[in-house]
Symmetry: C2
Subunit: 413 residues, 2 copies
């Protein structure tokens, strides 16, 4: 195609796909679609069926990722796109899902207009990016593709309901022993389209961003142990109250990230209190800390400050302190040439963009281990995500898919 | 009996009763015995059967309290003792249960040795003191006896599992419409024996305390509303994070009570986070505040300080703030003459005691609306309660029951 030739993606069609996929696990304006649940299985079947309609060869890999393949005349390594369709519990309709739909609609547009590509293009619908069913299994699908998931893991990973990953896989007909077969070493380039999940594009009045890097992320699960006592009969000065300690720790880590300034973010999103009754000083308080920073040195400083604060509070209050790091990914820069290519094609397509780092982490961070990567963001209304209130205007989504299709065209045709 | 005549209560017998009752709902060294559960029903039947063995007339009232009655020759208002057999979830074997067993063993000792009393003595096993099944129904049994429970309440009160009090009552054959029949206006004097649940007696090396008053207690259920956002993509400076607010509030109220000093106590024992996932800034955090003080003016100051702090944090952080007061009882002095009588008989029985205020609240606080009241405390190991680790040595329990029996003898024979 000429550099000026525009690719048309119909916003109404994007919206139709979004709403149709959201019927699987639909919950008000959001979805609850946990990996390997009946809703998730039905949604993956929907994705496979759409891929077939577009003329792609479909297969489900050993962990349940669904791949659609448009073979190139030359063979060789693939150019891949996609995202995930599992959701937070509940989450929105767009997080992940839009990236899968984008891949399908981009391939449909390219195939209808340009026929068979020179190089092979694939779209994949990944599983358990969110870790909303298995708290320590974030990026499960892309971990398997990059060789970072093993059959042994499936006996250790447990869902919030106590079930093992192996049990959940077997229940949907997947054999954990075959996980190594999901590994891919023939993907050259990975481009993921995703909603921004933050307010930057909306504040800038732009539909699309090219993403030049992803943050480092670490998840701590912190357990503070005290002594359960009667809320009336045990004087304050004799207590070892883990709630008092946890509250001080949480205030402290949040303040630390605030004072460090953007792009440092620290979130305490989950807390469990035991035994959790009004008239009992708790025995144990467990909470998560999600810490992110794009700069490796600043990130280390943030971690060190958090850990020092936890230790100081626990020591001063005579509390037991244990933590486990369940996720730990370094900052991930995008491939500079791929970023430039995306900026170029966006300009050619007449789609106004800015280039920015991602605040969120994505499967792209895993795919970077085996491929050149970059991402495309589309605007999120009010910057909201991980909630049923999440929304992206169909025009913005279509503009992002237009950029994706143009990039795939440039790379594969 | 002469002033010096000692009443013998066998410690081994006390322990046997405790262990036998703990079989109903037993859970390790503790019990889970929630009101109207099968375990609770079986335990009340056990209590009724023990009362019959001792020769008491037994009846179950309209809310399920079990009464055992030893009629006096003179008739007239009763002298009553007892406590509750529902537990925290899980709780210990002694909290409440020991007071019911104490009443039965005291009446057995008196009846065997002195026969029929002049005045009627009753022992009662009360229900849902702990509010461990119905969070807003603390003192349900004594509320019914004092006319503070109505049939209409039973449709509004809901258990942690969502069931109404009316449904739970009907499931064990109780008719909510008959609640008014549980009301009593013919109780003159109430003495409750209970474990201390704190460390004062152990630190003093004494088995028994005479309780000269109970604290005012208030339970707040506080809801802090923010905006759920993505933990990576939403910058710290743009968040309205209810966890950050709740942590600051909790630290603040606990510090306030600490700084006010004994006997002020403030406890945050229960917290619920929504949606409660590591990578999501919460939408809503709900927590309880349990506030106690024995002095009315100081208590008002403590409440005012807590409420001002909650408001200030919510306003500064742009968070929604709502609270409900689910329990609110004023401080309750014991009857001075009854306290003196208990001190006298303890001395005569050779049981060393101290006189102290209670930190915990008890059914006694409700019974004070219709009768002269006082309490007897027995030593708690390590001051622990509301946990399966709760323990009272049989010798200490027996010494307390000896004082109870001597007091009932003085009043009724």
């Amino acid at each position: 195609m000429s550099q000026q030739e525009r690719i048309w993606i119909d916003p109404a069609e994007v919206e139709r796909y979004i709403l149709e996929l959201a019927r699987h696990g639909g919950d008000g304006t959001g979805v609850r679609r946990l990996v390997y649940s009946p809703e998730w299985v039905a949604a993956q079947e929907q994705v496979a069926s759409w891929c077939r309609e577009v003329g792609l060869e479909v297969h489900r890999d050993a962990v349940g990722n669904v791949w659609g393949r448009l073979a190139g005349t030359e063979g060789g390594p693939s150019i891949a796109t996609g995202s995930h369709i599992d959701s937070q519990n509940p989450g929105g309709r767009y997080d992940g899902a839009l990236g899968v739909i984008a891949g399908i609609l981009a391939l449909r547009a390219l195939r209808e207009r340009y026929g068979q590509p020179r190089r092979t293009i694939e779209v994949v619908s990944l599983c358990e990016e969110e870790s909303s069913r298995f708290p320590a299994a974030a990026f499960w699908g892309s971990r398997a593709i990059t060789g970072r998931a093993t059959p042994a893991d499936t006996e250790e990973l447990r869902g919030y309901g106590g079930e093992t990953m192996a049990e959940a896989m077997r229940a949907v007909g997947l054999d954990p022993a075959r996980i190594p077969e999901a590994r891919r070493s023939d993907i050259d380039t990975w481009i993921e389209l995703h909603i921004e999940q933050g307010p930057i594009l909306e504040q800038a009045g732009l539909p699309v961003a090219i993403v030049n890097g992803l943050p480092g992320i670490r998840h701590y699960v912190v357990r503070v142990e005290g002594r359960s006592d009667h809320a009336g009969a045990m004087p304050m000065d004799l207590r070892r109250d883990p709630m008092a300690g946890a509250a001080e720790m949480i205030s402290g880590v949040i303040r630390t990230a605030q004072e460090m300034g953007r792009p440092a973010v620290t979130t305490v999103g989950r807390m469990l209190v035991e035994p959790n009754f009004p008239a009992i000083v708790p025995e144990r308080v467990t909470f998560t800390i999600d810490v992110r920073h794009a700069n490796p040195a600043q990130r280390d400083r943030l971690h060190a400050a958090h850990e020092a604060l936890l230790r100081a509070v626990a020591e001063r209050r005579g509390l037991g302190l244990h933590w486990e790091i369940t996720t730990d990914l370094p900052p991930c820069p995008a491939d500079p040439e791929l970023v430039r290519l995306l900026e170029d094609v966006a300009r050619e397509q007449g789609v106004p963009t800015l280039t920015m780092p991602s605040g969120a982490v994505h499967d792209t961070q895993r795919m970077a281990e085996i491929a050149k990567v970059a991402m495309i963001f589309v605007q999120s209304k009010d910057g909201r995500s991980h909630t049923p209130a999440e929304y992206t205007a169909p025009e913005h989504a279509a503009a992002g898919i237009q950029v994706l299709a143009a990039a795939l065209h440039r790379l594969a045709y």
